[in-house]
């Protein structure tokens, strides 16, 4: 097992290296440059050239790449061109928001998706099954940003139950410890701040949960259906075991393997930034900031953020693979 993990970690190195190279060449091909967003319309060619020179952008691309890699290997991701703060700081400030959002969204998706999938599978072929499957397909086919706007319009603007945007009400002066707003509120016993931060999470999380919920529901349904047809379930039934025991011990434990994998992969993709959801709710996570950074041609932020996201994503994939061998002893790692 240990050797497997080490080998997989080593395999990440060439992937990440390839990603830095690809990203670097690719991003610097973006038309315009940071000087355009800094100077705006006022920029004269001379001014532009001076800024480009100051930032080292007039050097050959491979020299720039070499400098970038040298800094990267010493753990320095550089400074943002638009906010003039270290990229690492920017990331650490926004990533907790995305983590909180992902956590709540996945809780909703798992909490509703798995029971619904089980329910549909046990009633396969009935009208209730058709309705559940149909609703989950609708979830997949609805544009996320449209769903977000609908929730916002109904529950925030019209009914006023939830705040429309942001992570925390500006009137609340909360103490920051970890950057996780809900957690901070709980740690410092500022209950109103925790509750407010949570309320800010609800609508974005509901929006973000729609696709994972649908996917988890459908995987659970398919998996439960498959396991239900196994001989050992029939044996359990004929032994006269109660439905609860059959469901818990025989069906669900075996059916959860593919579901666990899917949950891992979905978590990875949500953590990589819910660009659309964060934009709709003006939620200060990594997704929305990335899109702004593309507009600003903020190369250090783009490189740093995408690299960090890729590392998180690849590590989660690794954890999924490892956890698979723990859940199912029959799977052996090579």
């Amino acid at each position: 097992m240990f050797r497997f993990i080490v080998r997989r970690l080593l395999q990440l190195v060439p992937t990440l290296f390839g990603l830095t190279l690809l990203l670097f060449v690719w991003l610097h091909r973006l038309p315009g440059g940071p000087e355009t967003s800094i100077l705006g319309e006022r920029g004269t060619p001379a001014l532009r050239a001076r800024i480009r020179h100051d930032m080292g952008l007039d050097q050959p691309l491979w020299v720039q790449y070499g400098k970038f890699m040298k800094r990267l290997l010493s753990g320095d991701l550089g400074t943002s061109v638009s906010t003039h703060r270290p990229v690492t700081t920017e990331f650490l400030e926004r990533f907790p928001g995305t983590v909180e959002l992902t956590a709540l969204a996945m809780t909703i998706a798992i909490g509703v998706g798995i029971p619904l999938g089980y329910y549909a599978a046990r009633r396969a072929g009935t009208a209730r099954d058709h309705v559940s499957v149909g609703v989950s397909l609708l979830g997949i086919c609805t544009p996320v940003f449209f769903l977000g706007y609908i929730y916002k319009q109904i529950f925030a603007v019209n009914l006023g139950w939830f705040p429309t945007s942001g992570r925390q009400d500006v009137t609340i002066d909360a103490t920051r410890i970890t950057g996780f707003f809900v957690l901070d509120g709980l740690l410092t016993r500022e209950w109103d701040a925790a509750a407010d931060a949570f309320m800010h999470l609800v609508l974005p999380a509901l929006t973000l949960a729609s696709i994972p919920l649908a996917v988890i529901m459908r995987i659970t349904r398919a998996s439960v259906l498959e396991v239900t047809q196994e001989d050992f379930v029939r044996t359990a039934e004929s032994k006269g075991l109660t439905n609860r025991v059959i469901r818990g011990r025989h069906i669900m434990r075996n059916a959860m393997l593919p579901v666990a994998t899917t949950i891992g992969l979905l978590t990875g993709s949500l953590l990589s930034g819910a660009v659309l959801t964060e934009t709709v709710f003006a939620f200060n996570g990594i997704g929305a900031f990335l899109v702004t950074s593309i507009d600003n041609r903020d190369y250090p932020v783009l490189m740093g953020f995408i690299l960090m996201i890729a590392i998180v994503y690849l590590l989660i994939n690794l954890i999924v693979d490892v956890s698979y061998t723990i859940i199912d002893p029959r799977v052996r790692v090579r």
């Binding site: 060439p14 992937t15 990440l16 390839g18 990603l19 690809l22 690719w26 991003l27 091909r29 973006l30 038309p31 396969a124 072929g125 058709h130 499957v133 397909l137 609708l138 997949i140 086919c141 609805t142 544009p143 996320v144 940003f145 449209f146 706007y149 319009q153 603007v157 259906l225 498959e226 993709s269 990589s272 930034g273 660009v275 659309l276 934009t279 997704g287 990335l290 899109v291 593309i294 507009d295 995408i306 996201i309 890729a310 994503y313 690849l314």
Partner: protein, 321 residues
């Protein structure tokens, strides 16, 4: 075990289980087609798609107004004034859009543009992805040590693409190419490249151990010929299914790009994604302007998804009895 198995389906299966003689010698595709035809979900999906394609192809010839003509604008104000966008009437079935154009005509003509975006994006992703996956799979299956290296290299490339969040990948492509309709198509298609590549390669590897491959190799058939006329055709099924599903996501992702301001800059040309993105600014005034294109996108995506999922189930050997 179909997506929406009906009574007929269950009766048929009972018959098979009771030992009714199976028809002999049907090919994978004939069998799959039979299963798709018996599946109500597939039929619903196919009906939606047929309607969509019909509207897209012939609808634009019958629209009552020019979809780009701001007929509702008088003196710079949308008619019937006070900043209110007029709703449905006898002359304008779905009312005006925010620039005083006939919404119904825009919806109909938009179907063609939307279909076009989805098809071009999918074909682009499928072509490039299949080329990568096909070369990797063939090299791995037939190419010996060097083949395995080529395969490994190509798969590392797809890993790099997959390690980037998909929407971000599209946004970067869109930003590099500059805003245009073609950009949207290419950006959305790029997301699908690694998926198609991995899928075709996986499918080819699964086929490479089959008896007919052994037979062809034993008979001394040229390796290039084995790859092209034996391995590839037998491995294409999952790719085509994925293509149907990608058509659905492509339409949705194109809408997302428009929403992020990276869509077709020519918003006079009606496309559902652009219309939906534009309408977000008028939700307070007239939410229907967002709802029409949204519902159209959802129904169309649903059609592609239903058909694609049914095809996937029909081709799944585990489900074939």
């Amino acid at each position: 075990m179909t997506l929406l198995g009906g009574k007929k389906e269950r009766i048929d299966r009972l018959g098979e289980l009771a030992g009714a003689p199976e028809e002999q010698g049907r090919s994978l595709w004939v069998e799959a087609l039979r299963r798709v035809r018996r599946n109500p979900a597939a039929l619903v999906g196919a009906a939606i798609l047929l309607l969509f394609v019909l509207i897209a192809l012939i609808g634009p010839f019958f629209v009552p107004y020019d979809p780009t003509d701001p007929i509702g604008i008088e003196n710079g104000e949308v008619r019937s004034g006070a900043g209110i966008i007029p709703g449905p009437s006898a002359e304008h079935w779905l009312g005006y859009d925010h620039q005083g154009r006939d919404e119904f005509s825009r919806m109909v003509v938009g179907a063609r543009q939307t279909l076009w975006v989805g098809v071009v994006a999918t074909v682009f992703g499928l072509a490039v992805g299949s080329l990568m996956g096909g070369v990797a799979g063939a090299a791995f299956a037939l190419g010996g040590l060097w083949g395995k290296r080529i395969d490994s290299l190509l798969m590392r490339v797809t890993d790099v693409f997959l390690a980037m969040p998909s929407l971000l990948l599209a946004v970067t492509v869109a930003a590099i190419l500059g805003p245009s309709l073609l950009t949207v198509m290419l950006a959305v298609g790029t997301i699908a490249i690694p998926i198609f590549a991995r899928l075709l390669r996986g499918s080819m590897l699964a086929q490479s151990n089959s008896d007919y491959m052994l037979a062809a190799t034993a008979l001394g058939v040229e390796r290039k010929k084995i790859a092209v006329s034996h391995l590839l055709p037998n491995s294409l099924a999952p790719v085509l299914v994925q293509g149907t599903l990608t058509l659905a996501t492509a339409i949705i992702e194109a809408a997302a790009l428009s929403f992020l301001g990276l869509g077709n800059p020519d918003s006079a040309a009606p496309e559902w994604g652009v219309m939906l993105a534009d309408a977000q600014g008028y939700l307070d005034v007239r939410p229907a302007l967002a709802i029409y294109p949204a519902v159209a996108i959802i129904i169309t995506a649903l059609g592609f998804t239903l058909l694609g999922e049914s095809m996937r189930e029909a081709l799944d050997p585990k489900l074939r009895k």
